[in-house]
């Protein structure tokens, strides 16, 4: 029941919001998002920290095709639901000082998006998963199209077609598995698991690629990333935050929940190819990030590097790698939202995102510089920040799989420090120039957002255990199931 509430509350709130006019829209949207977060916290308080799926809801939907509305929350889903419900109010809060035209539609779309995202994370039916997966695309497409920056038509369209193409491959894979379920065909997750695991290597390979391409485009993993920098740069700040903070996790979540157990042989067989691509992507994206002049674009590329490490960790298929991926998904979500918000603040105050034309903001606004530094340290994975645990576990997992790959992936830590610290240096330190001289102090809501994010970075950097406790039983069980399917 509570799962249904989590899915449908944002939908209802969004629909109501469409009929609200005037300045109250922001507050109502924020209120709804906070209420959703409270529901998620309530779910967390009722959540038993074991590997079972809880708050299960299963009702028939399209009976003749074996499709049911089956949702439930296990440890892995719980963490991502928490991430989604935590970030959406933060994202709404970041928009408080921005005046978008037609705000009721804007916030309604964000809430619709939240509904689809929660749906993706709690679906236990392959078809339902696909529907939510596609559903998430429509609000974000319109958010980017209607409120985006220059040249948005072409870029958002490329993004849409790219992800849709990936999804259709996934649909093909799911239908293929569906037709291989025993007895009356069904899209139930366990039936699909069994069907996938009963296939031989060649056919699991097909399933693997059909599904992996969809997830790889969403994350995005090299070489499926070409839509991402443009889209992140052009989208309105809140759209970029939704894309990078939460939507990206749909891809990594998809790999964990669906790809690993559906085609374990295929994953094992192609793991090195994919890890190789991811690790190459890490180094490649980091190098491009170093030479970026546009700060927003730099963060977009850094996001490719981070997600590449997550993908590599997941594909190494051991408990450390997966656990690290879960933690890093949360950390990256929080940090990247913080970074994009900082870019947004700088751009609004100086009308530029060019790193070179900024400088000396610390002299004008030291408070902002400190908050930025904390977010940045979280992002470069300094110990005692939230980024560290995830990155450490991921590298550890990858090392167990292949030491060389881990060594190359480890470059991301160094390169990450290079581009992040350099951009900090040239924006915050040095001489104050004309653009930054009148850098206005932070408004209350802006300060609130940064403080929330910074506290999350530090608190979960120092005490990660409450988070790892939620997901580790489910992760262990998943790893064991996959190992069993592989006959190890």
């Amino acid at each position: 029941m509570i799962t249904l509430l989590l899915i449908f509350f944002p939908l209802l709130a969004g629909l109501l919001l469409l009929f609200v006019k005037g300045p109250q829209v922001k507050n109502i949207a924020l209120g709804a998002a906070i209420l959703e977060f409270v529901i998620a916290i309530f779910a967390l308080s009722q959540f038993h920290r074991d590997a079972t799926t809880q708050f299960d809801w299963n009702s028939a939907w399209i009976q003749s095709m074996g499709i049911s509305f089956h949702v439930g929350i296990d440890g892995i889903s719980m963490l991502l639901v928490l991430l989604t419900t935590f970030l959406v109010p933060v994202i709404i809060l970041t928009s408080f000082k921005t005046d978008y035209k037609n705000p009721s539609a804007f916030y309604a779309l964000i809430l619709f998006m939240q509904m689809a995202l929660v749906g993706v994370f709690v679906s236990l039916d392959g078809f339902l998963f696909y529907v939510f997966w596609e559903l998430a695309l429509i609000p974000i497409y319109f958010i980017c199209l209607l409120w985006g920056g220059e040249d948005r038509t072409r870029i958002t369209f490329k993004f849409f077609v790219y992800t849709l193409a990936g999804s259709l491959f996934m649909l093909g894979g799911l239908i293929y598995l569906y037709l291989h379920t025993s007895g009356t065909h069904s899209f139930n997750i366990t039936a699909l698991y069994a069907a996938g695991q009963s296939l031989d290597l060649v056919h699991q390979g097909y399933v693997f690629w059909a599904m992996f391409i969809a997830f790889a485009i969403k994350m995005p993993v090299f070489p499926f990333h070409t839509w991402q920098p443009d889209t992140y740069t052009t989208a309105p700040t809140q759209g970029t935050m939704l894309l990078s903070g939460i939507m990206l996790k749909m891809g990594t979540f998809g790999v964990i929940r669906w790809l690993l157990p559906l085609a374990p042989l295929g994953v094992e067989h192609y793991a090195n190819v994919v890890i190789g691509l991811s690790v190459f992507g890490i180094v490649y994206a980091s190098c491009i990030a170093i030479v970026q002049k546009d700060f927003k674009r730099l963060i977009a590329y850094s996001s490719i590097a981070h997600v590449g490490l997550i993908a590599a960790g997941i594909l190494s298929m051991n408990a450390q790698g997966l656990q690290g991926a879960m933690i890093q998904m949360l950390s990256h979500g929080v940090n990247v939202v913080g970074l994009f918000f900082i870019v947004d603040l700088i751009q609004k105050r100086t009308n530029t995102r060019e790193i070179q034309s900024l400088g000396g903001i610390r002299n004008v606004n030291p408070q902002f510089a400190v908050l930025f530094l904390i977010v940045l340290l979280g992002s470069v994975a300094l110990p005692l920040t939230n980024g560290f645990i995830g990155e450490f576990l991921l590298l550890n997992g990858l090392f167990q799989h292949n030491a060389w790959m881990a060594a190359f992936a480890g470059l991301s830590v160094i390169l990450g420090a290079v581009y992040m610290l350099r951009s900090y240096q040239s924006t915050m330190l040095g001489e104050t120039n004309a653009a930054t001289a009148s850098f206005a102090p932070l408004e209350t809501t802006e300060k609130a957002v940064l403080i929330i994010i910074c506290s999350a970075i530090i608190v979960f950097g120092v005490f990660p255990k409450p988070l790892t406790d939620i997901c580790s039983p489910a992760v262990d069980q998943l790893v064991n199931n996959v190992k069993m399917a592989l006959g190890k």
Binding site: W61, I62, Q63, S64, M65, Y130, V131, E134, L135, L137, I138, F142, L145, L146, R152, T153, F157, F160, V161, L164, A165, L168, F169, L171, G172, I175, Y176, Y178, L179
Partner: protein, 455 residues
């Protein structure tokens, strides 16, 4: 059968209206008559009545008739303007009603003579209606082209029927089916006959390479008539096509399977790729209608237990989405004297309601969840997958991606381009129907089971 009789009498009443001068009342009479027809039609559910071995009102026929009647009802409301013209009012009513009679015969025949009659009863009014804009050259051209090409196709069909009759000695579908599966070798003219009938039917559903008439006719004909052709005529033609090939000729499927495979692939690619290049929305929708025929051919080709329900669902989803798009194109082109994509610029600012309904309809035609169009494609792909047509499904997936391109061009124009600031006045009954259609598109998508379970 009662539904068919009522529908025919409605047509006659429409003609009498001219003589007894109750033209003003005709519109409500027809709407009421359609509702009654729908109810009468539903009484035939599960009865499987066979009439003189000519027509059988099995659930297949009843379901398709129901879809046709619902779409026709919506069409009548959207096409109200078409029935305002004083001089031809009764003709228009009578022709459309007789076309509906033809459509109902086409979905319920069990005899090839009835198939032929149904197609002709449907087609002849359409030839006239396509040219109903008498002062417009392109409307005349459309009518002329449609007539000439349609006559050719009918000739093929008739010749095919004659050859099949020659080989089996019967017009009756079940007797032909018995002869096919009887084990005795069939004369070679039978196979020629089957292929000639295939050509005739492919013309009617506008499958490539027999689709060349469709864009010109769709563009030239008055928009309301185009909407009728793209929805009701297409649904009826597909139902007739499927009825014939999935049962009677399924025993000789190896004769036509390969041909239909190539036709389906061609239709998908030609329809979608050509649609991309169109600047006129009407012409674009015409090519998209060709493309949709390609998807339905996939289910025809699969010929398994899912085919019937997949095509029924696809036809309903497609028809309902098309009615909405054509209605809006009609409203826009009336107001702006242009049916180009540019006419839609900035519609979201001047008429947000129209823009939202159009968006939902286009998303459905493009096959994006949770709209009906997505499930329609999904069921088609699944049935094709089951039949092992993986290659064709891949082509269809690529084709739907191309489809997204041109449907989204309209969406982008509506939301992104600057408008000329002129708000278009929309009649309130049109508004209500458009909103109902939009809700129906989503509702069909959320609860597809109610239609899928029917057959």
């Amino acid at each position: 059968m009662k539904a068919l009789i009522l529908l025919s009498s409605l047509g006659v009443i429409a003609l009498l209206a001219e003589i007894f001068s109750f033209k003003k009342l005709l519109y409500p009479i027809v709407l009421l008559g359609l509702i009654t027809t729908f109810v009468l039609n539903m009484f035939d559910w599960d009865t499987n009545k066979l009439y003189f071995k000519m027509m059988q009102f099995d659930n297949y026929a009843v379901a398709f008739t129901a879809v046709i009647l619902v779409v026709a009802f919506l069409w009548f409301i959207m096409a109200e303007g078409f029935f305002k013209e004083e001089s031809n009012l009764t003709d228009h009513f009578a022709l459309v009603l007789f076309a509906l009679v033809g459509a109902e015969i086409m979905v319920s025949y069990t005899n090839m003579a009835m198939l032929f009659l149904g197609i002709e009863i449907l087609s002849i009014p359409m030839y006239i209606l396509a040219g109903s804009n008498k002062t417009d050259v392109s409307s005349n051209e459309a009518a002329f082209k449609y007539l000439i090409m349609g006559a050719f196709a009918t000739g093929f069909l008739l010749f095919g029927i004659a050859l099949v009759y020659g080989a089996t000695g019967s017009f009756d579908l079940s007797e032909i089916a018995a002869a096919v599966s009887g084990g005795t070798a069939l004369s070679s003219i039978f196979y020629v006959g089957v292929l000639l009938m295939l050509v005739g039917m492919a013309f009617k559903v506008s499958a490539a390479p027999f689709h060349f008439w469709a864009p010109d006719v769709y563009q030239g004909a008055p928009t309301v008539v185009t909407a009728f052709m793209a929805t009701i005529v297409k649904t009826a033609a597909f139902a007739a096509f499927l009825r014939l090939f999935s049962t009677t000729f399924s025993g000789v499927s190896e004769t036509w399977m390969q041909t239909v495979w190539v036709m389906a692939a061609l239709t998908l690619l030609v329809g979608n790729i050509t649609a991309v290049m169109q600047t006129s929305t009407k012409r674009m929708l015409a090519y998209s209608s060709v493309a949709h025929a390609g998807y339905m051919l996939l289910a025809l080709l699969a010929a398994n237990n899912y085919s019937n329900s997949a095509i029924l669902y696809y036809a309903s989803a497609y028809s309902i989405g098309s009615i909405a798009t054509f209605a809006i194109v009609n409203i826009i082109s009336d107001a702006k004297n242009s049916d180009g994509v540019n006419a839609f610029n900035g519609l979201s600012k001047t008429n947000p309601m129209l823009a939202i309904v159009m968006t939902i309809a286009l998303l459905s035609l493009a096959g994006i969840p949770p709209t009906a169009g997505f499930f329609a494609k999904y069921f088609i792909f699944t049935s094709a997958f089951m039949a092992g047509n993986v290659g064709l499904v891949l082509i269809a997936i690529i084709a739907s991606l191309i489809g997204v391109y041109y449907y989204f061009r309209l969406i982008i124009a509506m939301y992104f381009k600057e408008s000329d600031g002129q708000t278009i006045a929309v009649q309130s009954n049109h508004k209500i129907v458009l909103v109902i259609i939009a809700i129906a598109i989503v509702a069909l998508g959320l609860f597809p089971d109610y239609i899928i379970r029917l057959l």
